[in-house]
Amino acid sequence: MQINNEAFITQKTFRVILQAMSHPGRVYTLSQESGVKSRESESEGLMLILRTLLDHEVGFCVIGKEKEYLETTISELTGCPVKDISDADFIIVSDCESKGEILKARRGSLEYPDTGATVIYVVEFLNDMDNGKPVALLRGSGIKDYITIAVRGLGKNELSHIKEINSEFPLGIDCIFIDSANRVMCIPRSTRIKVK
């Protein structure tokens, strides 16, 4: 068999995301180097996730700083076409907050809720507490009792937006957060959020 490096990198990355999606609120670390980082502003972890999940069969868009630059880079890297926010399978929030744009994301239909978008937030730092304080408390599938999270840098209304979008389960979006230390945390639509 061919030992294909890309195949191994994406497999490892996928397994971390899968664990994170299965355990909402828990922080996991992506262990490998992505090798593609042409600008300091680019998140290495983000590129790992995108290489693992994006291709020409889905569409994406970027909200936030360096929108055009990132859209071009990502499209070239993955072959994934850029789409309008209301039609994108993946939405990348490059600057910690969407300023309400995220409310336009696709939420899926009752028959096919899986067509709801996946949103990837690039944030500063992920933890269970920040300065001794959590920003939110999560409950739901994948969480034993409850878990607290702290997302440094995330826009203050962002969690409320997500909560609003996901208020009509099974419709909604599934969120992946990636921080500057290549750490990842997920909030799928099945998670109930209590903002502190």
Binding site: E57, S109, Y112, T115
Partner: protein
Amino acid sequence: MGYVAVKGGTEAIENAGKLLTYERIKGNSEPLGVEQIKEQLNFLVDRVMGEGSLYAPDLAALAIKQSAGDTFEASFMLRAYRTTLPRVGYSIPKSTKEMRVIRRISAAFKDIPGGQILGPTSDYTLRLLDFELLNDSKGKREECIRELFKDIEPPAFSLQPFPESFPRVIEVLRKEGLLAEAVGGKQPAVNNQNGIFDMTRQSLTFPASRSAAMQTMARGETGGLLLLAYSNMRGYGDIHPTIGELRVGYLPVKIKHPHTSKPYTIGEVKVTEAEVIAKFTAKNKKPKFTLGYGLCFGHNETKAISMAVLDRAMQAEEPKMASENKEFVLSHIDGIESMGFCNHYKLPHYVTFQSDLDRLKKAQEETRAESLESGVRDEV
């Protein structure tokens, strides 16, 4: 002992495979050449290519040899091989006007533009066993071919040049405004990529688009398609088809040249195309004929006509019969899937059966009945 799991089976599986080969090779006759299969069992090769959804006569012939003529197994091998091939690109959609026709008939009109061409068909042969074939030989074949072409002048000297392309019969109807363009039925918006559904990449969901339906039927099992189409023809449905045109021939396959982007012909595929004209609708006030379309790999008229009939049947606005129900038709015509599932019942089901036994015993205790005729839920 009774029902326990079949274990330690590694050696047994390998020996079973060897025995299967032995059954194919144990006779005294000459080994069957792939070339022979390709050239002399052409209908079988065509069928396997269609159901295996890979146009590769040599590989299909190999699969037929390896599977000892089991069409399900042969198509399956072709389909499994197909998945491992990289996708290089998409061909450019082309009108079948460009078909290099070897057979072309219409049941709707006696005279059609370009004329009827009977071509190779068994339609008017007497199905009598030809015992002469028992003494087949190369010499006899050559003689037969000489006999066949002896009175035919080479095309260069014939009076009428062979036309480059044939106008389609239904175009005549279309020009006169007798044809309804798209018949009702719900057209879904979901799961469309670049306007055309790709059933090798996407999961069929319902309501299915027409392109999804066409692709599913094109790789469907001939017998399965025929069964459903026949049910409609007999009366479980009422589209009353007339064959507007049936064509067999070779279609050029064109792709965009990767550098120049100009169309570039990479080869041709033999196909059978059927267009059936069916009962008219009165939608939008003016009554018009409706159309059903079928196209499949190789020379397989039964399949193309069945496809066309089902295509039309599935456009029913209020499906009542099995053949009119898109979900029913498209979910049950794939030979590879249905064959696989049918045969999986040979796998052990000890656990589910144990579970059912427990329920049955309990139910018997509860009802104190002597025996129960039914009630055990069919399980996998």
